[in-house]
């Protein structure tokens, strides 16, 4: 079984500032890790994924995440946020079968 913990329920950030969203997971098997974004009143869009290979993965909209196996983490970062990055961000883990989502982190970008 897998589980995902997103350590911050809400992250306020100023425009053009960096942001980091924390995600830790636990699993008894090898996992695949994902970050999804949900803009207000919309569905889930894949930001990036780690399946294998390089532990630093780059996604859409300037986001990147680093897989750290020893710390069982997959933190999401963006060096400079825009107002349009205001959204809910979900970390998800997959072993065999279903995706398991974290509780989400609400990012609010203000000018």
């Amino acid at each position: 079984a897998q589980s995902v913990t997103q350590l911050d329920s809400q992250v306020p950030v100023f425009e053009e500032a960096p942001v980091e969203l924390r995600c830790n997971y636990s699993s008894s098997v090898s996992v695949y890790l994902f970050w999804y974004v949900q803009y207000p009143n919309q569905g889930l869009q894949l930001l990036l994924k780690y399946l294998s290979g390089s532990t630093l993965v780059k996604g859409i909209n300037g986001f990147e995440a680093e897989f750290n196996k020893s710390q069982t983490s997959f933190h999401l970062r963006k060096p400079s946020v825009h107002i349009s990055d205001t959204a809910e961000y979900f970390c998800a883990v997959r072993g065999w079968g279903k995706l398991q989502f974290g509780a989400g982190t609400q990012v609010v970008v203000t000018p």
Binding site: F34, G43, L46, S52, G97, K98, L99
Partner: protein
């Protein structure tokens, strides 16, 4: 680009009524899922479906829920007798494999039970 489509986008129903939420997964995908998101809460797994049968379900997926792939393209979620607490956004997803790839999500159906 292929996408998962869900209909309707919004459904309002009276408590106790049956509802069917419809999804058309990506055509060459083999694994199908339903998830639920109650307003302001996390995305919760309901059920996964493969080879015309349920492969996994959560404790939320009780006897009031059923899934079906009636015609090889649609994938439906039926709630037999809706309750107020069934009000949520329901997401359908599909995947070509059951591991080492992402699931592709539809835009969701917002179900409001009154």
């Amino acid at each position: 680009e292929p996408e998962v489509t869900q209909t309707p986008s919004h459904q309002v129903t009276q408590m106790g009524q049956e509802v069917i939420l419809r999804c058309v997964p990506i055509s060459n995908h083999l694994y199908f899922y339903w998830y639920r998101q109650i307003l302001g809460q996390k995305v919760e797994f309901l059920v996964s479906f493969y080879n015309n049968e349920i492969s996994e379900k959560s404790e939320i997926f009780d006897d009031q829920f059923s899934v079906e792939r009636p015609d090889g393209s649609n994938f439906t979620l039926k709630i037999r007798s809706t309750k107020l607490e069934d009000s949520a956004m329901y997401f359908c997803a599909s995947s070509p494999r059951d591991m080492n790839t992402e699931a592709f999500f539809g835009q969701g159906t917002r179900l409001t039970v009154v």
